[in-house]
Symmetry: C2
Subunit: 238 residues, 2 copies
């Protein structure tokens, strides 16, 4: 069966759950695209690759490492190894240090180029409502603006039904965790941590968010963390 | 002096003339970014590099070669070596074979990420009115949609004056050729041809457009062409 669109899959809980949803709930056949942009936590890509292997589908890794040097001057902790990854709650102001300028626009633009080339009709991205506070390129207004720009940029070439598929944009991370369990996603094989060490650190914004969501969804969390208690203090602080 | 924005420079007549305009007419200090996207005419990038050397400014080449395999399935003659580069007038329907899906959106997205990282306020691109017929991602509506999407995607991070600088968007190639002469651009060092051979072929769309514009502007053309007569027949046909 030919691919009918492109799924941007980082290897985190959100994008892997989206991939399962596309395959097993939506009956779509996405091409899986992962970006190596020089992120500190590049091991998320191999996590995505392992899950694709389990599913028997192909993952293509886009060499986007030059995007790392282009954005390093922004001082983002995700691409500049000299900046400390902030700890604490995902929605805290300090998490702005993890913003990579224009990252989603660049990745969606490339995925759209691919989608148009294979005559697919969607680019799927797993952004969710918890991303909105810190990351402006995860908000509904941005997705609308992108869809419009892509359609204008590719008039006469793009599929008439082309859209950016964002199944989680109005959902919480807890909703995603719940769906992950329903779809039998191998949660412990997904990688969230912004630090790319052996185990999830348990203390960075995305580790805290992950543990909180799995807890709130009542989903057993088999992920090994360096620190599996820290998140509780952070949530209590709010 | 710090760079105050990013200029996308392919190495063709248009983008090199834009670079001279930015430096010598607009008093700006752009960072020069060239994209290696696996184009058949990759030698345009070294043409840009030679001119940057003349000017004593740095050129950074962004490794975007994976964009080639992503768009190869589109059958574009620019990235698929098995597709013949069409000959004839630049505005002819047959030139659609040279469209690379979403190329400008992807390149502008990356340039914008860089611009925001260095706190600049513009991304410059040399699209001109002659591009509008064939390339939807060179039309004014696209530039407006992109500017809007970039501002939304980077709210709180992007420069308040951020804009996509398109000095030639309502000008003709002949206007650009005239300006090139005024600014003493070393025209023969620029590279336009879609075929990446030793000399400009003289017969592809962009070679025809180049010769016509220089002729109409009354600018001596020192570029060696494999065929320097073909363009006249094509223009006579219109």
């Amino acid at each position: 069966m030919d691919n009918d669109g492109v799924a941007i899959v980082s290897g985190g809980l959100d994008s892997i759950t989206m991939l399962y949803k596309l395959l097993f709930q939506d009956n779509r056949r996405p091409f899986v695209l992962s970006f190596d942009y020089g992120q500190r936590h590049v091991r998320e890509i191999s996590a995505a690759g392992e899950v694709c292997n389990l599913l028997g589908i192909e993952q293509r890794v886009f060499d986007f490492t030059d995007f790392g040097w282009i954005t390093e001057l922004s001082g983002s902790a995700l691409v500049d190894d000299t900046v400390v990854v902030p700890e604490g709650h995902y929605a805290a102001e300090t998490m702005k240090a993890t913003v990579v300028p224009n990252r989603n626009m660049a990745m969606i633009s490339i995925a759209a180029a691919f989608c148009i080339s294979i005559k697919g009709d969607y680019v799927a991205t797993a952004i969710h409502s918890g991303d909105h506070a810190i990351y402006p390129d995860c908000r509904p207004g941005f997705i609308q603006a992108m869809r419009s720009a892509i359609r204008i940029a590719n008039e006469g070439f793009v599929h008439p039904n082309f859209h950016i598929y964002t199944p989680f944009i109005l959902q919480s991370k807890t909703d995603i965790a719940t769906l992950a369990q329903v779809l039998a996603v191998p949660i412990e094989k997904t990688w969230s941590c912004y630090n790319g060490r052996e185990q999830h650190c348990g203390r960075c914004g995305t580790c805290v968010e992950r543990q909180e969501a799995l807890h709130n969804a009542g989903v057993p969390d088999l992920t090994p963390y360096e620190d599996s208690e820290f998140w509780k203090e952070q949530v209590a602080k709010l």
